[in-house]
Amino acid sequence: MKTLKSLLYIVGLPVILLVLWYLATAFGEKNFFVPTPALLAETFVETWTWDRMTTDVFPSLVRLFWGILGSIVIGMVGGLLIGSVRWLRALLEPTMEFFRAIPPTVLIPVLMLLIGIGDDMKVAVIIAGAVWPILLNTIEGVRAMDEVLSDTTHTYGIKGFNRVRYLILPSAMPQIMAGIRQSLSIALILMVISEMFAASSGLGFTIVQFQRSFAIPEMWSGIVLLGIIGVLLSFVFQLVERVVLRWYHGLREIENAA
């Protein structure tokens, strides 16, 4: 009974929206721009065959993966370094603020000039945009370290790698994860945009191609696929976050319950 109720809560609104969509498109006047749900589902299955998956979708996802990995590594290493050295932070902070404020998509033309139109450029674009939230959040997380804990580790003579591993990383981790979460959506956006701007394959390219040839249901199916990728990405992230920050969520629960 309880599971049934929570299932109803989960599917209730989506089902209502789908029915509304169906009613609006099937019985209202014919709308050229919006297909019926049935047509869309049919097109989706027809369009995104295994062939197309391997030529367009998987290469995009591989670029996305390298881009995200690159930003996480660069952002965390750089952030730990800059966050722990005060003068370095003071030296770089305004410059970093400026770079973060530049909308990452305008870097696409620049990197296209400097690196050319290839996979490298797309990965570079993703890193150039997605690294900032991770970097700045790591710096902030390192700065916000608990002073008592910091003094305690000093007193116990915990230094070097151990200090990073057991003090700095755990205390900065909640902030770092918040940064990674922001970065994921930026990375996905940049993947699509870089392919729309200059590419001959990939998800973004294919969708724009559909739009230019007025293949409306196909275009919608591409939008849906992008949405699914976005949802999956955030789902995977939540799983990872739950494992990495298990201790932190437990702590907050206790605080909130008190």
């Binding site: 989506p14 998509t105 620049v110 700065r143 949405g227 955030s234």
Partner: protein, 352 residues
């Protein structure tokens, strides 16, 4: 009172307090020390050490905090400034402030110098990476051109309209959904599904529906910023303190008064965080729409400069978008500090 209590001695602290008068004064002193140390501790990292008593008592949030760090007020629980207070602290801040500023300027100059040298020495092809001085000179020439300001105006107009629509819709919906458990559970799956959908997926749709007119940029901007604000408002409404809410109820505050005096003040820091995040996202989407779709604005100028091969102009325009971004950030922070000046940094972490 137990028999162990010596007669005549008042025992306000319970059975053991007056066992030994020396011990009592000791405890008294400890309490005083603790009380004296407390205000300073509050400025430290409260995120992990929020004790229920202070949150429930609600004595902190009503006190203005002039020493609040210049970062987001709602997040400053995580900025962990030093614990000492008073004029010494102010002096130290000022001194560090000047040093920091000088170093920051040095960093910026160093960056520009690196850029200049990379181009001048030919490490990177100077056609594709013109020297920084050329780009900056072009930027200053732009400041005198009407076309440049028109592009800036178009960009800002799209940004502003998109923000107004998104923030209004998200705030209203957020308060409605957030204040009912049923609605929150009912909409949760839909929100969690729609939120991660990248807004740029809507670009083809926007092009089909609106072409290069301003609406296609607005569609993207509103879609992207709406979720930022909505999620923060939902977090904020969920964060309302139970004790405060029950107190308000037992004092006979009606639903509207509770919304105004309990829910709204709790949510405001979250809302402001959402607005600040949305402001940055909205600018990104405005420029992106201009770059890809060709709605009028700075992004379209960049695309034109790039395809026309005038790379100096392109770099100048990119610098301009960066400055616009910095400006929006600063303005949003100032607004946030103004609006939340009554709020001290006790709220637990906001960004999730």
């Amino acid at each position: 009172m137990t028999d162990q209590t010596p007669t005549g001695a008042p025992g306000p602290r319970g059975p053991h307090a007056s066992e030994d008068p020396r011990r009592e004064t000791e405890i008294e002193r400890l309490h005083r020390l603790e009380a004296a140390a407390r205000p300073d501790q509050r400025r430290g990292d409260t995120r992990r050490h929020v004790d229920a008593a202070t949150v429930a008592a609600l004595d902190i949030p009503t006190r203005p905090d002039p020493a609040a760090p210049p970062t987001s007020v709602a997040q400053s629980g995580a900025t962990g400034s030093r614990t000492s207070s008073g004029p010494g602290r102010a002096r130290r801040r000022a001194r560090r402030g000047w040093g920091t500023r000088l170093l920051g300027v040095a960093g910026l100059l160093g960056f520009l110098l690196t850029w200049e040298l990379l181009s001048r020495t030919g490490v990177v092809n100077p056609t594709y990476l013109p020297p920084a001085s050329a780009a900056i000179a072009d930027l200053f020439r732009n400041f005198g051109l009407a076309a440049f300001w028109e592009a800036v105006g178009d960009t800002m107009l799209q940004w502003f309209l998109g923000m107004v629509i998104a923030v209004t819709a998200a705030t209203v919906l957020g308060f409605i959904i957030g204040s009912s458990t049923f609605l929150r559970r009912f909409t949760n799956s839909t929100i969690e599904f729609l939120r991660p959908v990248p807004s740029v997926a809507l670009i083809p749709l926007a092009v089909l529906l609106y072409g290069v007119s301003i609406q296609s940029a607005l569609l993207l901007i509103v879609y992207a910023s709406f979720w930022q604000v909505l999620i923060q408002v939902l977090y904020g409404v969920a964060d309302v303190d139970n004790v405060a809410m029950n107190t308000a109820r037992s004092y006979g505050l009606g639903p509207l008064a509770r919304l105004r005096y309990v829910i709204f003040p709790t949510t405001l820091p979250y809302l402001m965080t959402g607005v600040r995040l949305a402001a940055a996202v909205a600018l990104i989407l405005a420029i992106t729409a201009q770059l890809i779709i060709g709605t009028p604005g700075l992004g379209a100028e960049i695309a034109k400069a790039q395809s026309g091969g005038s790379y100096v102009a392109m770099y100048a325009l990119i610098l301009a978008t960066g400055m616009l971004g910095v400006l929006i950030n600063i303005v949003m922070r100032v607004i946030e500090r103004r609006v939340l000046s009554w709020h001290s940094s006790v709220r637990t972490e906001v960004v999730k």
